[in-house]
Amino acid sequence: MKKLINSPEQVVPDALRGMAAAHPDLRVDHENRVVLRASGAVEGKVGLVSGGGSGHEPMHGGFVGHGMLDAACAGEVFTSPTPDQMQAATLAVSGGAGVLHIVKNYTGDVMNFEMAAELAAAEGDVEVRSVVVDDDVAVQDSLYTAGRRGVGATVLLEKIVGAAAEERRDLAACEELAKKVNGNARSMGMALTSCVVPAAGVPTFELGDDEFELGIGIHGEPGRERRRLGPLREVAEQLVEPVLQDLPAADGAPVVAFVNSMGGTPLIELYGLYAEVAAICEKAGVSIARSLVGPYITSLEMAGASVTLLRADDDLLSLWDAPVSTPGLRWGM
C-alpha cells in the first residue's frame, strides 16, 4: 500500500486537521469529528446534517458552508460515523427550526442515524427529521435486500435542499423537497480498479486487465457484475441506459446530469464520458439543463465513474443555481 499518510489510524484526523487549516470558513470539532460552519448555527434556519464514512471526499465535509450543509460527521474510512457524533452535530447546528439528517441508505448509516435521532428525541430539544437517499439503480431486487444504495444523488440533494434551507423553508418543506430530489434521481457506477482501505492495506478486490465492475457503490466493494471493458461509448451506455429506464418520466422536463469520478479517473477521461452521456441523452430526447462533472463522491483512489440524472423542475433548477460557498462546490458568491 502506497499512500500519503502517517498511519491508517491517523488518516481521518489528519485530513480533518488539514480541512480546518485550509478553510477558515469551517470549524472542525476534532473530538467528535464534525465539520461545521465557522459562523455557527443560523437562527431560524433548518440545520442540515449529513455524514458517513470517510473516503468519499469532498463529500460530506467539503459540502459544509453557505447554501449547503451545516455540519458533516466523518466516520472512519468507509465506516458510518456514530450516533454521538451525529448528536453533537445536531445540537451544534440547531437554530430553532429543526434539523434534517441526510442519510445515505447503508445499513450502518441508517442504524447510526436512527440511534442519533432517538437520542435527540430523548433530549427533546431539537426536532429531527431524516431523509434516506437511495438512488442507485444497480440494486435491482431492492425489496429483498437492504434496498438501493445512496450514491450520486446525495450531492445534488445536499446542494438543492441546502439552498432551500438557506431561503428559510421550514423543516417539513425541506424534508419534502429532499424526498422529491431523491425520488427523481437515479445513478449507476462502475470501477476500473479497486481501492485500498488504509486499515486493510491491500486492494479490496482484483480485476483483470480487460475487466471492469458494473454496478458498484462507493465503498470500494465489488459491483453487481464483472464485464469486459469496451470503448468509452459502450461503458457510457451501460451506465446511462439503466438510469434512463428507471428515471421518472415527466414529459419533457429536463435533467441535471452529474458525471462523477470515483477518485482515480482523471478529468480528461471524465469529460470524455460526459460527452458520451450528453450524446445518449440527446438521442433519448432527454434535455440536460444543468451539469456537474468532477470527483464529488469518491471511493478513495478508485478508478471509475458514476452517472446520476435528476429529473428537475423550475424550483429544483433555481435552487440548484442559488449561491453556494463550500470547499467542494461553489458559485454565485
Partner: protein, 215 residues
C-alpha cells in the same frame, strides 16, 4: 473465578476482554472476509471498538454486570460505527439492562440477558435467520444455550454448548444469498463467502465459553 452454575461479574468482564483479544488476533481475517462481500472494514471496526471497551473497563471498572455491559455497549456504539457498531452496541446495552445491577448471573439469567441482546440486534437490524448475518449464528446458538439450561446445564456448560455450535452455523452462511447489509448489494455474487459478522459472533460466543470455563 468461574463457577459452573454462575457467571460472575469478573468472568463476564473477562468475556469482554477475551472477545477483544480474539478480535485483535483475527482482525485481518475478519477484514478479509468483509473484503469479499463488503467493504473491508469489519476487522478494524471491531478491533477499534473492543479495544476501547477494554480501555473503559480499565479506566472505570464497573461495579455490577448491568453497568459493565451498558458501559461496553455505549463504548461500542461510540467507537465502532458502521453496521456492526449499533448491532454489537445494542446487544451489549440490552444485555446490561436486562442483567441489571447484580454481581453474577445464573444460567437462566444469563440466557435471558443473551436473548435480550439478541432481540435488540433483531429490533435494530431487522434481519431474519437466513439473511446471511450475525443473526444466523446468534439465533440457533442461543437456542442451544437455552436447551442446555433446560437440560440442567450451568452457565459455563451452556455457554460451551452454544460456542461449540457456532462454527458450523458460521460456515453455513457461506452458501446463502445475502439479504441484509452491504453483502446484499452483491446479489448472487454474495454466495460462496462466509458472512464476516457471523465470524465475529462466533468469536463472541467462544470468548464467553472460555471466560466462564475459567483461566
Amino acid at each position: 473465578m468461574a463457577d459452573a452454575d454462575q457467571a460472575s461479574l469478573a468472568a463476564l468482564t473477562d468475556w469482554l476482554r477475551r472477545f477483544a483479544a480474539a478480535v485483535a488476533r483475527d482482525e485481518r481475517h475478519l477484514t478479509d472476509l468483509d473484503a469479499k462481500i463488503g467493504d473491508a472494514d469489519h476487522g478494524s471496526n471491531l478491533r477499534r471498538g473492543t479495544a476501547a471497551v477494554v480501555e473503559a473497563l480499565d479506566a472505570d471498572p464497573p461495579g455490577d454486570v448491568g453497568a459493565a455491559f451498558k458501559q461496553a455497549g455505549m463504548t461500542l456504539v461510540k467507537t465502532v460505527g458502521g453496521a456492526s457498531g449499533p448491532l454489537y452496541g445494542t446487544f451489549m446495552l440490552r444485555f446490561g439492562t436486562t442483567a441489571g445491577a447484580v454481581d453474577a448471573l445464573d444460567a437462566t439469567a444469563l440466557g435471558t440477558a443473551l436473548r435480550a441482546g439478541y432481540d435488540g440486534v433483531v429490533a435494530r437490524g431487522k434481519a431474519e435467520p437466513g439473511d446471511k448475518t450475525m443473526v444466523d449464528v446468534l439465533e440457533p446458538c442461543l437456542t442451544v444455550f437455552d436447551e442446555a439450561v433446560a437440560g440442567g446445564a450451568g452457565a459455563a456448560a451452556a455457554a460451551r454448548a452454544a460456542a461449540d455450535a457456532a462454527p458450523e452455523r458460521r460456515d453455513a452462511t457461506a452458501p446463502l444469498l445475502a439479504r441484509k447489509g452491504r453483502a446484499s448489494y452483491l446479489g448472487e455474487r454474495s454466495v460462496g463467502h462466509v458472512d464476516p459478522g457471523s465470524a465475529s459472533t462466533t468469536l463472541l460466543l467462544e470468548s464467553l465459553a472460555d471466560a466462564l470455563a475459567g483461566p
